[in-house]
């Protein structure tokens, strides 16, 4: 596949075929030279990574819904696995608030944090609705998936997509991925898996996600805000400032009333 500047690229992550092998996590760490966090036993199903952060740019989530006495085979939904990643949102909350403009949209239409520009204010951490960004303890700057910006510039597909043995993670031009996803959804629906749904494929969630998903349950089950709750930080500017202005007016009047009060001595 030829990777061209000026075109939109992304990931289509099909959770219905994820087997939870974590090859993506390993490939990501290897390519990006991420040391990983101190190993810890999380006692959380097969998940020992815990979360996306400065050291984990891919994280395979496990949602264990296997009943104690299985009556059916589960039909692919008793154990949900999902390789999570930065969504490279079209309307990116992180980018919206960043005061240094360290967060940019690249020539591949992905979201990238410039390490030499970031000053570690952490405003983006408070903004990203997917808990993607972490602060690297050594550099003090904000880190997350770069969608292998360096590999794309060199004409290579991202490490995670290349390593994924089941093609749960597919990389490519966004338009092409969307077509693939639509076909896959139709296939699943025709097989009776009516709960299957696409997340971030259209513009309902943050104007569309360059890294979008096929889910086997509703978004909330995977820890993803649904379309109604996918809201940008800037929504609160008007309310916040209007509240402040009203308080300022009342406060100034109250102060004047107090200070202009004269004694009658």
């Amino acid at each position: 596949m030829e990777i061209k500047a000026g075109e939109s690229y992304g990931f289509f992550t099909d959770t219905s075929v994820c087997i939870g092998c974590k090859a993506c996590e390993v490939a990501c760490k290897e390519w990006n030279q991420l040391e990983g966090n101190e190993p810890a036993f999380l006692a959380d199903s097969f998940d020992n990574t815990g979360q996306l952060d400065a050291q984990n740019w891919r994280h395979v989530k496990f949602y264990d819904k296997v009943p104690d006495r299985p009556a059916t085979t589960g039909n692919g939904t008793a154990f949900l696995m999902m390789s999570d990643v930065c969504k490279h949102c079209q309307h990116a909350s992180c980018m919206e608030v960043c005061p240094t403009n360290a967060i940019i949209r690249t020539e591949f239409n992905t979201v990238f944090i410039q390490q030499d520009v970031c000053n570690g204010c952490r405003n983006c951490v408070a903004a990203c609705p997917y808990s993607v960004i972490g602060i690297n303890q050594k550099t003090g700057t904000a880190h997350k998936c770069t969608l292998c910006y360096d590999r794309l510039q060199g004409g290579l597909e991202p490490a995670c997509a290349k390593a994924c043995p089941t093609q749960s993670i597919q990389f490519g031009p966004l338009a092409q991925l969307q077509q693939t996803a639509d076909a896959r959804l139709e296939a699943l629906h025709s097989q009776g898996a009516t709960q299957a749904q696409l997340y971030g494929r259209d513009d309902k969630v943050y104007g569309g996600l360059n890294a979008f998903f096929l889910l086997m349950d509703k978004p909330e089950a995977y820890g993803l805000p649904n379309a109604e709750n996918a809201v940008l930080p800037s929504r609160n500017n008007i309310g916040g400032y209007v509240g402040a202005v009203i308080t300022a007016v009342v406060g100034v009047v109250a102060g004047l009333v107090a200070f202009r009060r004269r004694g009658m001595a």
Partner: protein, 310 residues
């Protein structure tokens, strides 16, 4: 607009430095506003208290950049990246009106200039032994008015900054900007009241500073109620439980100044005067206590909000 958002967001770990900054920015902005309002009172005998407030505003604002830069993960010397875009090929100034942190950095700079010049003006006037109205008369009052606008912004934007995020509690309410402003004004009035102890002529304004503090606290109380209504409505009210002791401290501060308001109101009614000698003497001792409680409350309120959200 304020949805009962499900929050899957990570905390930014804004802790002690940011708390300190929010506290000092609120007091500094508030002090400047109070100094300006005292000048607008039209009574030259309020000038000593006004000058005290300008000094306070300046000293406090000096500490703010120290705290802000100390909090930056990548080192304090990268603070200027907030002002100047260092992205290769994209050089220019950084200003995003939709990001309160970006706006706030500029306003902090602008306000510091006003606070510095106003403190200098007060010092020059003090040195020349000038009593009464400020140097340059109406021109300097106009200057103060613009500075006071910046002060109002500085004392409030920190609350808006918290709201403009996807954090639970913070982004679930519109009240934080107003709440921080009201409490900053109240804290500043308490601080100036406390400082009048060190400047005899400023004692003239003491009773009315107490009154103003009471009014500001009343406003703050209304906003605290609005805060809880909005947050509970959004379904994140339970997050404030862990910070209950801090909320309690904030309410003690509020109650102290409201009790003060009642007492001062009574004192002013008969023939107490803006600052009758006997009245002032009797108010002295508990004024210290009230001021200290109010200031602790102002700090606790910010801590309660900061730690409820993350």
């Amino acid at each position: 607009m304020f949805l009962a958002a499900e929050h899957f967001v990570r905390a930014p770990d804004w802790e002690w430095f940011i708390l300190g900054y929010f506290f000092l920015a609120g007091l500094s902005g508030g002090s400047y506003v109070i100094a300006t309002l005292l000048r607008l009172s039209g009574d030259p005998r309020d000038e000593p208290a006004a000058r005290t407030a300008f000094y306070a505003s300046f000293v406090l604002i000096l500490l703010c950049p120290v705290l802000l830069t100390a909090d930056l993960g990548a080192g304090w010397w990268k603070f200027w990246h907030m002002l100047v875009n260092v992205t290769p090929g994209n050089a220019g100034l950084n200003f995003k009106y939709w990001s309160p942190m970006s706006v706030g950095v500029w306003l902090l700079l602008v306000f510091s200039i006003f606070a510095g010049l106003s403190a200098l003006g007060a010092w020059l006037a003090d040195r020349r032994g000038r009593e009464g109205p400020p140097l340059f008369g109406p021109l300097s009052v106009a200057f103060n008015l613009v500075g006071a606008l910046a002060g109002l912004f500085l004392a409030s934007y920190t609350g808006v900054l918290l709201s403009v995020s996807n954090q639970p509690v913070w982004s679930d309410t519109w009240t934080l900007g107003g709440l921080f402003l009201a409490s900053g004004l109240s804290g500043a009035a308490a601080l100036i009241a406390l400082l009048t102890r060190y400047r005899r002529e400023a004692v003239y304004s003491l009773l009315r500073l107490r009154m103003a503090d009471g009014y500001f606290s009343l406003l703050e109380l209304i906003l605290v109620i609005a805060f809880f209504v909005t947050v509970v409505n959004a379904g994140t009210g339970a997050r404030t439980i862990a910070t209950a002791p801090l909320w309690a401290l904030a309410l003690v501060g509020l109650a102290a100044s409201l009790v003060g308001l009642r007492a001062e109101g009574r004192r002013m009614r008969p023939s107490g005067g803006g600052g009758g000698g006997a009245a002032v003497a009797s108010v002295g001792a508990n004024a210290v206590l009230v001021s200290v409680l109010v200031l602790i409350g102002v700090l606790a309120l910010r801590a309660a909000v900061i730690f409820s959200g993350q």
